[in-house]
C-alpha cells in the first residue's frame, strides 16, 4: 500500500499519457468526504475532475456514456453508504444503474472496470484518497480510452 508513483504510459502518439477521470460526487456524503480529504491534506493524483450532484441517483446513464464518448478514461460514481442516503433510497437506484451500465460497457467492448461505484461517507476522507489512488492506478493499467485512439 505504498504511495502511488506516477507511471507514465506512452500512448500511440508517443507522448506521455495522463488519464482523464470524471468523478460524480453526491452533495451530502461523498462530496463532503472529498472535502474532508482536503481538510486533512491527504495527497492524491491530479487526474480527476469532480462533478457534484445532489444525489448519486441523479447520475443519468447518459452522463456516464457521454463522458466515455468524450474521451474519459475512467468514471467514478461516489454516493452515500446504503441506508445512509440523504434522500433515503437514492443510492439503491444508483447501485442498480451502475451495475447495468457496467454490463452495457462490456457488451460494447469496453472494460467494465473503467466504471466504478464506491460508497464514501462524509467522514471518510481517507477512503476518498484511497479510492482515487487505486482507481487512477487501475485506469493507468487499463490504458487510454480506445475511442480517442480511433
Amino acid at each position: 500500500m505504498s504511495a502511488t508513483e506516477a507511471k507514465h504510459e506512452i500512448g500511440s502518439a508517443g507522448e506521455e499519457w495522463d488519464p482523464k477521470i470524471i468523478v460524480f460526487c453526491c452533495n451530502w456524503c461523498s462530496y463532503a468526504g472529498a472535502d474532508l480529504a482536503g481538510v486533512s491534506r491527504l495527497q492524491m493524483p491530479t487526474d480527476f475532475r469532480v462533478i457534484r450532484t445532489m444525489c448519486s441517483a441523479r447520475v443519468d446513464p447518459e452522463f456516464v456514456l457521454r463522458a466515455f464518448a468524450k474521451g474519459a478514461d475512467g468514471v467514478l460514481v461516489a454516493g452515500c453508504h446504503p441506508a445512509d442516503c440523504h434522500y433515503i433510497g437514492g443510492n439503491y437506484r444508483t447501485r442498480r444503474r451502475i451495475a447495468m451500465l457496467r454490463m452495457l460497457l462490456e457488451q460494447y467492448g469496453f472494460d467494465p472496470d473503467r466504471l466504478k461505484l464506491e460508497w464514501i461517507s462524509a467522514s471518510e476522507g481517507e477512503k476518498f484518497q484511497k479510492t482515487i489512488r487505486e482507481f487512477t492506478e487501475k485506469i493507468r493499467e487499463i490504458g487510454p480510452n480506445p475511442i480517442t485512439e480511433d
Binding site: L36, I88, A122
Partner: protein, 1003 residues
Amino acid sequence: MMSKVGAVMVIGGGISGVQTSLDLADSGFKVYLVEKRASIGGTMAQLDKTFPTNDCSMCIMAPKLVAAGRHHNIELITNADVEEINGVPGDFRVTLKRRTLRVDENKCTGCGVCAEKCPVETVDEYNQGMKKRKAIFVMYPQAVPLVFSIDKEACIGCGVCYEECRAKAVVYEKPDEALEISVGAVILSPGFDEFDARLKKEYGYGHYKNVVTSIEFERMLSATGPYFGAVLRPSDGEIPKKVAFIQCVGSRDEQVGNTYCSSVCCMYAIKEAIIAGEHTAGLKPTIFFMDVRAVGKEFENYRERAEKEYGVIIRRGTRVASVEEDTATKNLLVRYSENGGIATEEFDMVVLSVGMRPSEDAEKLSRRLDFRLNKHGFCETDVFSPLCTSRPGIFVSGSFASPKDIPTTVAEASGAAAKAAALIADVRNTQVTVKEYPAEIDVTGQEPRVGVFVCHCGINIGGVVKVPSVVEYAKTLPGVVYAEENLYTCSSDTQEKIKAMIKEHNLNRVVVASCTPRTHEPLFQNTIREAGLNTYLFEMANIRDQCSWIHMHEPEKASKKARDLVRMAVAKARLLEPLKKSSIPVNHSTIVIGGGLAGMTAALEVSAQGFPVHIIEKTGQLGGSLARLYHKEGTREPREYMNELIAKVRDAKNITVHLDSEVKDVTGFVGNFKVKTSGDEIESGVIIVATGATDYKPSEHSYGKDKRVITQLELEQKLEDKSLRAKKIAMIQCVGSRNEQVPYCSRICCVTAMKNAIAVKRQNHATEVYVFHKDIRTYGFREELYKEACELGVKFIRFPEEDMPRVGGNGDQLEVIAHDTVLGEDVLVKPDILVLSVGIRPNEGNEELAKMLKVPLSKDKYFLEAHMKLRPVDFATEGIFLAGSAHWPKFIDEVIAQASGAATRAMTIISKDELETEGIIAAVNEDICDGCGICEPTCEYKAIQVVKVSENPERLKVAVNEGLCKGCGACVAACPSGAMEQKGFKSSQVIAMIDSALEGGDS
C-alpha cells in the same frame, strides 16, 4: 403590564440545544444559543458511530450544526457562561460573560494557517488527550462556527499567528465581553460529563496504559481520531487480539455515590464492540454486563446482530472485581464473578464503559439561575412535567435532566421548545428579522455575462495554485466578461466588491473559485441576491479542499486542474437559469389521531400556542391506556392526571374532539391534508399520529384458564381495591417479548414489575415475592426501584436467555421452575399468584393507517420515523408526526416529552402562512411526458403522481408536487424520455460540465 419577549435563550450547544434552537427559530422566535466551548456540537460530535443504525455521528449531525450556525434567527454566543438571571417568565434578563477568543470572528475565515505555524503543542481535549493541538485552535475541522481561538493558558504570546494571519483576525488584547440579553424563556441543555474512571481504582485507569474509557475508545474508532480509526493498544501500538468491555463503571454503584443507571452504556458498548470488530479483522470483543439494557427501538435486534453476525461475546450477570496488569506484556487480567463462581481472563485491552454524571456546571447553574437539582445532582423534574425545571419559565431537555440516549434527547429538545413557545406564543414573529432584498433583475433573454472571482484564501490556495494564471485563463472563456482575484473571497469587504462588480459590468452569472460550496455557497448566493441577482445564478469551483490541499506538491498540475475546474463551472454557469421557490399555502389546523396521553398532550401544546386542533379518537372516551394505571408516579396518580388533561382538552376553545371516530381516508400533502373519518371530513396542515399500543394477551402459562395467573395490570387493579390474597407471589418477565416471534424488548415491564413488587411488600411485608427475569431493565433513575425492591426483600432469579421458566403443578398448587444462572441450579417456587409481565404490541390497525398516510412501519410493526437518531418524531413524509407508544413503548414522562416534541415539529409548519419549496426541484415537460410512471416509485417523498391530462383524459402525465419534492434527481435519471428535469442540475448543465472537463485544450 409586563411585555413579553419573543426570544428564547438556549444554554448548551450539544444536539439537544441545537435541535431546540432550530425548532424555535423555524417557528418564528429569535434564539440565543449559548455554548461554553468555542464551538457547538457537544458530546455527539466526539462519537464515531451511533447505535442502532451505525450512522456516522458527524455526518448526521453536521447539517444541523451548519443550519444552526447559519440560521438568521439563531445567534450563536460561544465561549460564554451564564452569570445571572433576573425577571419573570416571559420577560427575563440574562447576563452572560463571553470569554474572549482573542480572534475577531468577523474576520477569521477558518483557513488554519495560524495553527499550522503555532509552535506550542498542548493537550487536545476533543481527542481525550490522545492527540495534540496547538495553542490557537479549532476543536475539530468541521467545527461550527469555524473560528479559531487562543488558549491563553498554553499560549506563550510569540506573535506568529498574528503575523501569519492574512485577514488580520488575531487580536491578543480582545477583552472578555459582558452581555445582557432579554428573552421570554430559557431552556437548559448543558448536557453531561462522564464519570471519572480513576475513581474506580480497582480497574487501574490512569495507571495501566491499555485500560481506556469508552469515550477514548470512541475517538480511536473515529476516522478523524488519533489512530485514524484503527484499534490500537496505547502501550505499544499493537492491534489487540482480545478486548474486554466492563459495564456500569460509575453507575449502579453505591461505592462511588452514583446509584442510578446511565441508560446508554449497554448500547454504546455493543456499538463500540461491533465497530471495533469492523475495523479489526477477527476481533470479537467480550462485554461484561450486569444486565443488558437494550430497551429502545430495535435495540434488542442490534444486540442480537452483535452476537450472531459480529460474534461479540456478551456475558450477562457478571460483576468485575478488578483489573490487573501484567507488567511485561501490559496485558490485563480481568477478575469477575459469574454463575456463582470467580474467574479470570486475560485481555490485551480493556474499555471501561463510564457512566454519565451531572454536568460540572450543574451546581453553578442551579445557584445562578435559581432552580433545583435532584438528589443525583441532575436537574430536578417531575414525571408529569419532564421538561420543566423548578423555576417557571426555565425549561430543560436532554441528559442534564437524566441520562438518556440521543433519540430521546432530540424528542425532548423539540418538547422543550414547545414549552418555551407556549409561554411566548403571543409574541411570535416579533423578534425575528425578515431580510429585505432589492427587486430581482430580470435576466431572461440576456446573453450570459459571467463574472469569475478567484480566491487565494491567504496562502491555502495561492501557495500552490497560480491564481493569477487562473484569472487570466478565466478571461478567455466564452461568456466571461470579468474576472478578478481576491485574498479572501469570503471576507465582508470582498462581498461589497462582488456586488459592485455585478453592477459595474452588468454581470448576470457569478462563479467563485475558492473552497467548498457545502459551507460557502449560501454566503455567496446571499451576496448576489443583495445585488439583485436570482440566487441560483451562481456556481462554485472547489479549488481548495479538492485541489490545492490535495495536490500540495504538484503546483503545475494543481494549477491546470484549477483552470479546468473554473472552465467547468463557467460552462455550467452559462446555462444556469433563475429559479423561483414557490410557496404552498398552509392550513393552520392540526389533526391528532388518538386521544390518549400522547394525543392529548400534543393537542394541548399546539392549542396553547394558539392554533386549532382536532382529536380523532376511535373509542367513546379520551384517556387511552392511562385509564388502566393506578400506581402513583411521583406525587400523583396517572388517572388523576388523565382527568386533568381531559378537562383541559374540553375547556380549550380551539380543540375539537371527535369520539367514536376512525380514520377512513387521507388525501393531500403537507400544509393541505384532508382526513375523512366515519363521521366527518377535516382539513389540516399537519397530522400527528398518537394511536398508542396494546398489551399482549398471553396464552402462555395457563393464563385465561387459571384464575391465579394474572398480568401486571390485573395485579395493579387488585392492589388498588385491596383484593390481593397471597402469601407468595411469583412474577415472570419477558412474557411475549424477547422470543422468536417477538424479538424486541417492551421497555416498561421490568419497571412495572418493580413497582408492583414494592407495592405488594408495602401492603404486606410478609408476602414473599419472586421475580424470574433475564435482565432487570430499570434504566436511568428507575434503577432506584430495583434497589428498593431488593432492600424490601424481593427475590430475583436470573434465568438463561433461551430457557423460559416452566409453569406446572397439579390443580392445587402452582409450580414455577427455572434455572438460576447465579446459583447454577434449578429453583422451584410454589406461588399463590403468578403474575406475567406481558409485553406491548403495536396496534393491529397500524398497517391500514400507515397505508392511508403513506408512512412506513418498522419491522416490529410500530410506525417508522424518518431517522431513528435525529428525527424521532418526524415521518419522512413531510407534515406527519409521531408520538407515544405508537412509536415505541415508553413511560409517561417519555410520552409527554415526545408528544410535546411532535407538537413543536408540527408548529414549524403551521406557524407559517406559507411553506417555501426548494428551488432545485424536479420539473416535468408535459409535452414530452407520456405518463409511463417509471419515475413515480423512485420518489421517496411521494412527490410524483401519475394523473390524467385534463384536456384529454385518455392521456396520462406526471405531476410533481413542488411542496414535497426535495430535489434529489432520482426521477430525472430514471425518466426514459427526457421529460423529467431537475432545475439547477439539468442534464444539459451537467453534460456541459462533462464536455468541458474532457475538453482537450490549452488550459
